[in-house]
């Protein structure tokens, strides 16, 4: 196998009226298992990728497929091809809404969602930020759970709004203010911050211990 065939495109046919030139992206190199091994080892549920047979049912079932550049099927094959940067920086690995359609339809029973969440978690750990807003929101959400044991929706929303400095905060805040007001008027918003659960300290200890044990599936 040629080891370093560059990405090739079909030469453009310049003449007007001819069909739009179609890009054919060829693999840049032969399959490179190092990244796949890294994923199997470090990503939660990463080993499930081994089962994938590239049928594409997951991609076809995804409600947000049309918003994606790389569908789940492509992500899986890119992992096998060793495209580390492309996979871990792709915003598409953080677009999952957890609707579980891919999971119930996958003929091999791969929990595609768990793999995607695992990949996103790993990407963030490795210093990539596939999707800035979602990452900020997720961090604030988890902070709440970690500190209080429960999620205080108001607190998360405020922290998320203020996460990115003054100007974006004001923009986001203005966008969201009517929603907050509506919720408040209908008594669906808590004004006072919730108190931590009684076992919050113990919970923190447990979560720290679980974090130290790293990837849970080894058991």
């Amino acid at each position: 196998m040629e080891n370093d065939t560059a990405a090739k495109t079909v030469p453009e046919r310049g003449a007007e009226g001819s069909p739009a030139p179609k890009k054919i992206v060829k693999a840049r190199r032969a399959y490179e298992p190092a990244f796949a091994r890294e994923v199997f080892k470090n990503v939660d549920s990463g080993e499930e990728i081994k089962l994938c047979m590239q049928c594409g049912v997951c991609s076809g079932s995804c409600p947000l497929k049309k918003e994606m550049k790389y569908s789940p099927r492509k992500i899986f094959t890119m992992i096998r091809a060793g495209e580390r940067e492309m996979v871990l920086s792709s915003p598409d690995i953080m677009l999952c809404t957890s609707c579980y359609r891919c999971k119930v339809r996958c003929p091999r029973g791969i929990p595609v969602i768990d793999v995607m969440h695992g990949l996103a978690h790993y990407a963030l750990e490795q210093g990539f930020e596939p999707r800035h807003d979602s990452a900020q929101f997720g961090r604030k959400f988890w902070d709440n759970i970690y500190k209080k044991g429960r999620v205080d929706e108001t607190d998360v929303a405020i922290r998320y709004t203020l996460a990115d400095g003054l100007v974006p905060s004001i923009k986001k805040g203005l966008e969201m203010q009517d929603l907050g007001l509506q919720q408040l008027l209908h008594r669906r918003l808590k004004i006072l911050p919730i108190r931590p659960i009684r076992g919050a300290k113990d919970l923190k200890k447990m979560l720290d211990k679980a974090a130290a044990a790293k990837h849970g599936r080894k058991a």
Partner: protein
């Protein structure tokens, strides 16, 4: 009286407070007792993967299971679909994997807790359908929702991924429960479509088309209200309607309610104190009451008039019947006929039934 552990979850404490109120209200008429898990914690929902690894999420949920197990042996009922899925997933994995259970118990021991896998985690709909049963629900109904057209929006996590009590592709539990309340259930294809979930807040322009499709479809099938059993679905479908109207030039003002709210109304409980309908941002009470009143006045009319479908005369109706018979199984021809006479599928059924029963006859020859 059957006892269950209620695991309300964070949403029901705030943005879905009307769900919690109505769920608590329907317990008594259905002879159920909810016992809240003492000092429960959040399940982590579907976004905590950003900050937590899988083991942390397992521990988080195992703590709830351990607390419930120590307090008694009832099933855990989660009205929130996300809580149900995550808590259930952890429970199933722990039961299936003794080594994982040992690892998690080792961590739970930090707080003097342990879990032995004796509990089941179930969705509210599961309990209503399988434990309470349709007959008992029908018996508890004092004010049937006759005349109210309800679209049962199931969403994602209410049945997926486990499909323990309902089909993951073609669910009917929600619809059957709504029908047991006396409501007219409208079937609509988008009832399993994703609403965008937690993505709505961060990726609004990507999620709006999803919700638009759902509400549009429910309206096209004639729904007065959309009923759901998931706090995330209710919130996404309801509170963003104004934003969607602005961005996508729609005119939505469709009430989105929880099935438990409709149950409270149908059981004759107070629509605000028990049904919490005053907490719906898109007003639902008026729409529901109007439909019920309309049905009440309709019932009084003698129901012996000849079948009239739309503005068709009996001759036209009979001609339509002949055309439909001629069309047979040819879908295109049937469609053309329906278009010609402006018939909907209901009208077609009515015409066929009328001919069968002999109330509609052709010109005597």
């Amino acid at each position: 009286m059957k006892k269950y552990f209620l695991y309300p979850g964070c949403s029901l404490e705030a943005s879905a407070s009307h769900y919690l109120i109505s769920v608590k209200a329907i317990a008594k008429p259905l002879d159920l007792e909810w016992v809240e898990i003492e000092d429960w914690n959040c399940c982590g929902a579907s976004v905590s993967y950003v900050g937590a690894n899988e083991l942390q999420i397992m521990v988080l949920n195992a703590r709830n299971l351990a607390l419930a197990e120590a307090a008694g042996g009832y099933d855990i009922v989660a009205p929130c679909s996300s809580c149900y899925v995550i808590e259930n997933k952890v429970n199933r994995e722990l039961k299936a994997n003794p080594e994982l259970m040992a690892q998690v118990n080792d961590i739970l021991a930090e707080a003097g807790l342990s879990y032995h896998g004796s509990l089941e985690v179930r969705h509210l709909l599961d309990v209503l359908y399988n434990d309470v049963g349709l007959d008992a629900v029908k018996q508890a109904v004092k004010r049937p929702l006759t005349g109210l057209k309800v679209a049962g929006y199931v969403g994602c996590q209410t049945t997926r991924p486990f499909g323990e009590y309902d089909s993951v592709e073609n669910p009917r539990v929600l619809d059957e429960l709504l029908a047991a309340l006396g409501a007219e259930v409208v079937d609509f294809p988008m009832k399993m479509q994703c609403c965008g979930s937690g993505l709505f807040l961060t990726e609004m322009e990507r999620s709006m088309p999803l919700v638009r499709e759902i509400i549009e479809d429910a309206e096209a099938h004639g729904a007065d209200v959309v009923a759901t059993a998931c706090p995330m679905c209710q919130m996404n479908l309801e509170i963003y309607q104004g934003k969607i109207n602005k961005a996508l030039r729609t005119h939505f003002r469709r009430p989105i309610v929880f099935i438990s709210q409709l149950m409270a109304v149908a059981m004759g409980l107070d629509s605000n104190r028990a049904g919490a309908l005053n907490r719906n941002i898109v007003p639902a009470k008026r729409v529901i009451m109007k439909a019920l009143k309309g049905a009440a006045t309709q019932v009084k009319k003698p129901n012996e008039e000849p079948v009239v479908i739309g503005r068709l005369t009996p001759q036209q109706q009979y001609q339509a019947f002949l055309d439909l018979t001629a069309a047979g199984d040819n879908a295109q021809a049937v469609y053309e006929t329906m278009k010609k006479y402006r018939l909907d599928p209901d009208g077609v059924k009515k015409i066929k039934k009328a001919v069968e029963e002999g109330t509609l006859v052709g010109p005597s020859d």
